[in-house]
């Protein structure tokens, strides 16, 4: 069978099909898409991936710190520690193969006072217990030599060379694309409201109608507790923990070479400074316990706190313009680990509490969940390798289309710039709009191409990008 014949569909409206699915995954964040992709490797399964939003990755997966963690500071022995460690290895390889931007910049966990310096050996020891042996403690001179723009007073650092930065949007999109190509039906604008665990088949009442499925995976992120309750479980409650972040202008990129981590405290991992694969610099996140799962706004207090911390870490950062401010919500549960469990009798797996490492762990979570599904009686056909995928490059480490004479010669649309700040071409926008999983909004187009994500925030290209989105990529009048 050709790829096209076996491919699934991306549906944003209309009733779901009458025939039952073998497995349905609720939630198309980085975790749900990874699970759907893993399941798609088992040819012959009928799989649905549902999300309430009009695009993949519209939840926490679009708003995080974009670090591919080593897991050096995880809770040793926890499920999270294992899945982060495995997930990092899997995702690093997958990213290379599929063109997801990754840069192995490494991290320096910087101690700013005696107490923090005294904590470094303990962290080194913890890293070893987590199976990470490349870390080492370095003195103030080496810290300064490696980060000359650092603020005064750094006493030393834990050098963690394996920490990397990655593009979270391309990751989620790559999983979703491969899943759909591999046969998964992606139902968007499809909120699950009620679940009737009838005999042998779950009946899901969604905002787009009824859908039936034999097995069910709950990867609903912040709402995993609510979905769990629809099936009668009361095992955990998700408390959103907001993280606000400031994105600085690309001019700031020259100020920093590593991810600059703070020494963690009881209150959380603290505020970091990190380059992004697009060439910006991130400052954040905050850690605010909230009860509103939709509170993804930024606040004056949050921005002020980040700027105060940033001034200490990298004083010159504050002289640069801010390109964006955003906030994401971590799915905290009060437990110091993920909350992943199989409910055999219900042919159901809960994937809850994927708090601040889900991007890194996604592929390992997917493999783990697939194993758990097998324990609930899912008959897994033999796994195959999915046809390889090459994602458009949004990263600065490799040439972008506007820099490639070969691409432009073959198709001048790659030499026609639309978004000047981010150098996004008409060819890339056209490709994104015609892709297997097309965007549902100009914001989705921005995450796929970076159009409008630069320092002018649409002053120059906003209107044109909107027009291209509305016309499906065909050149308009303007």
């Amino acid at each position: 069978m050709s790829v096209a014949e076996s491919a699934g569909r991306v549906l944003r409206s209309g009733a779901p099909p009458d025939t039952a699915y073998d497995v349905t995954v609720i939630g198309a964040g980085v975790v749900g898409t990874a699970i759907a992709r893993e399941l798609a490797r088992h040819r012959g399964l009928r799989i649905a991936l549902l999300d309430a939003a009009n695009d993949v990755g519209e939840g926490t997966s679009k708003a995080n710190t974009a670090i591919l963690h080593t897991g050096f500071d995880a809770v040793p022995g926890s499920l999270e520690a294992r899945l982060v460690r495995e997930g990092r290895r899997l995702l690093a390889a997958y990213a290379t193969e599929s063109g997801i931007p990754v840069e192995p910049v490494g991290a320096l966990l910087v101690a700013w006072d005696e107490e923090q310096r005294a904590a470094l050996p303990g962290l080194l020891d913890k890293a070893a217990r987590n199976g990470y042996h490349a870390a080492r403690i370095i003195g103030p001179d080496e810290v300064r030599a490696r980060e000359p723009h650092l603020g005064p007073g750094a006493l030393g650092a834990l050098d963690v060379p394996g920490e990397s930065i990655i593009c979270p949007w391309t990751t989620t999109l790559a999983y979703a694309t491969q899943a759909v190509r591999g046969g998964v039906d992606l139902h968007l604008n499809c909120r699950v409201r009620q679940i009737d665990p009838g005999g042998g088949l779950h009946e899901l009442t969604t905002s787009r109608g009824t859908l039936r499925t034999r097995h069910l995976v709950n990867a609903a992120g912040l709402h995993a507790d609510a979905v769990d309750r629809l099936l009668g479980h009361d095992d955990f409650t998700v408390t959103p923990r907001r993280g606000q972040l400031i994105v600085f202008d690309k001019f700031a990129r020259d100020l920093v070479d590593h991810i600059l981590l703070p020494v963690p405290t009881a209150l959380g991992k603290g505020v970091l400074v990190a380059p992004t694969v697009y060439g910006n610099v991130l400052l954040g996140p905050t850690a605010e316990e909230l009860d509103d799962k939709t509170a993804t706004g930024s606040t004056a207090e949050g921005i002020a706190l980040l700027r105060e911390k940033g001034r200490r870490i990298l004083p010159e950062l504050l002289d640069e313009e801010v390109t964006a401010v955003y906030a994401g919500l971590r799915a905290a549960t009060g437990y110091d680990d993920y909350r992943v469990s199989a409910h055999k009798e219900q042919r159901y797996v809960t994937v809850g509490g994927i708090r601040s490492t889900g991007l890194t762990a996604s592929l390992a979570i997917a493999a783990h969940v697939t194993d758990l599904l097998a324990t609930t009686g899912l008959d897994l056909p033999a796994a195959r390798d999915l046809p390889p995928l090459r994602m458009p490059n949004l990263g600065e480490a490799l040439p972008r289309p506007y820099q490639r004479a070969d691409l432009i010669a073959a198709d001048p649309a790659y030499g026609t710039l639309v978004c000047h700040c981010e150098r996004v071409t008409r060819g890339e926008i056209r490709d994104a709009l015609a892709a297997v999983v097309p965007p549902g909004s100009p914001d989705g187009l921005r995450r796929r191409t970076r159009a409008g994500a630069g320092r002018c925030q649409g002053f120059h290209c906003g209107a044109q990008v909107r027009e291209l989105f509305e016309k499906g990529g065909e050149p308009g009048s303007g």
């Binding site: 313009e321 925030q457 009048s477």
Partner: protein
């Protein structure tokens, strides 16, 4: 992989400044004069201003832009649009991308005329959600005049400077009701006649001493939070907000080329002959001072072309210059380097506060070079000029020259 070419003068940016420079150069036989612009059409910011008031005869922006295109092309300047200068590969060598491929162009003189933009919401650190319906004037103009897009139903306009009033006009044309004009200053900063015409005739409230503290709404903007200087807060329901003014130079190329920037303007520092610190590299127009009206930058372009022409002929470049600095509440001055061979014939300043009868004092190393009282008030976001007749008294080996307001 890059096509390499050589020209005499390469001008980056085909706005009024770049086109006027090109026209002046080509008209005087400066050799191969090429202007490139990343937009598909030449004309710069003016092309998007459908309203009148450009040039001396009150043309619309597009008419004005067209006039300068014709002027430059008419005398033999080569104009290429859809060509983006992406960076430098040598002191006078620039890399470009266009649908025709990649090029590497070396020029005897490079002129940066890359213009300016308004600072968007995020750069102003306005907290809240990230809904649709958030614009700058530039985006609004392109959306309405360029693409005929639907904007919304009810807008708040942030800023009360001249460009804010053009945003009002554009909103009106798009059928959007304007709920209020909000400015952090105690008064609007437009000319009285223009303000009256644009605002009062339509009874739009002007909220002074007020800032936007929060954007609300999911998916689409539902309102903005406001705070008055005295602490009072308010909420205004609206589905559109336009952040106007607060211009910054589009100085990416200048900065990537390592040109020193002026701390006040944040554009490349230049002397009275539009020379940057790099030999052979000039800058002109709103990249130097964000922003001046089109006719002012076009006049600059003419002056710049004469300076570039002299350089191409004689090859003279000043070996030293004295920096020109301002003291608060003055925000910036341009030009901001003094080269004694070309001191310039005057300077443009901005204040960050209203000053009713400003007395300007120019000093160097404690010595007063010039002192003058102006009859007209200094108004934020509006230019005021001082003559350059004192520059002969500057000591070329002395410290920075300072411009301040006397009490």
């Amino acid at each position: 992989m890059r096509r390499e070419r050589i020209v005499d003068a390469l001008i980056v940016g085909a706005g009024p400044a770049g086109l006027a420079t090109a026209a002046g150069l080509a008209a005087t036989g400066a050799g191969e004069v090429e202007v490139v612009d990343r937009d598909q059409q030449a004309g710069g910011a003016a092309r998007h201003c459908a309203h009148g008031g450009f040039g001396r005869f009150g043309m619309t922006g597009p008419q004005y832009a067209e006039r300068w295109v014709a002027a430059a092309v008419g005398v033999g300047a080569v104009l290429r649009t859809g060509v983006t200068v992406t960076g430098w590969s040598g002191p006078l060598t620039l890399d470009t991308t266009s649908p025709r491929g990649l090029e590497r162009i070396t020029a005897r003189a490079v002129v940066l005329a890359t213009g300016a933009r308004e600072r968007p919401r995020a750069a102003r650190l306005v907290p809240g959600t990230r809904p649709a319906g958030v614009f700058t004037t530039g985006e609004l103009q392109r959306a309405v005049h360029g693409h005929g897009q639907r904007i919304g139903t009810r807008a708040v306009v942030v800023g009360a400077e001249p460009v804010s009033l053009t945003a009002l006009d554009t909103l009106r044309q798009a059928g959007v009701e304007v709920a209020a004009l909000v400015t952090e200053y105690p008064r609007h900063q437009a000319s009285r006649a223009r303000a009256a015409e644009a605002r009062l005739r339509h009874a739009i409230p002007l909220l002074t001493d007020a800032t936007v503290t929060e954007l609300l709404g999911r998916g689409r903007l539902s309102g903005v939070g406001l705070r008055h200087r005295d602490g009072r807060t308010a909420y205004v329901a609206c589905d559109t907000v336009v952040f106007t003014g607060d211009f910054v130079p589009d100085q990416e190329l200048a900065r990537r080329g390592g040109l020193p920037l002026d701390p006040g303007t944040r554009g490349p520092a230049v002397d009275g002959a539009f020379r940057t610190a790099e030999r052979g590299v000039f800058a002109v127009g709103n990249v130097l001072h964000a922003v001046e009206p089109a006719r002012v930058v076009a006049r600059e372009g003419a002056a710049a072309s004469a300076a570039v022409r002299r350089y191409l002929r004689d090859g003279d470049w000043p070996s030293a210059s004295v920096p020109l600095r301002v003291t608060a509440p003055l925000g910036w001055v341009a030009p901001n380097r003094l080269a004694l061979d070309e001191p310039g014939d005057g300077f443009t300043l901005r204040t960050t506060e209203f000053v009713t009868h400003p007395t300007l004092v120019v000093t160097q190393d404690g010595r007063t070079l010039h002192r003058a009282r102006r009859r007209r008030p200094a108004v934020p976001n509006r230019p005021f000029r001082i003559p350059g007749d004192w520059t002969g008294r500057v000591d070329a080996r002395g410290g920075a020259v300072r411009i301040a307001l006397a009490d």
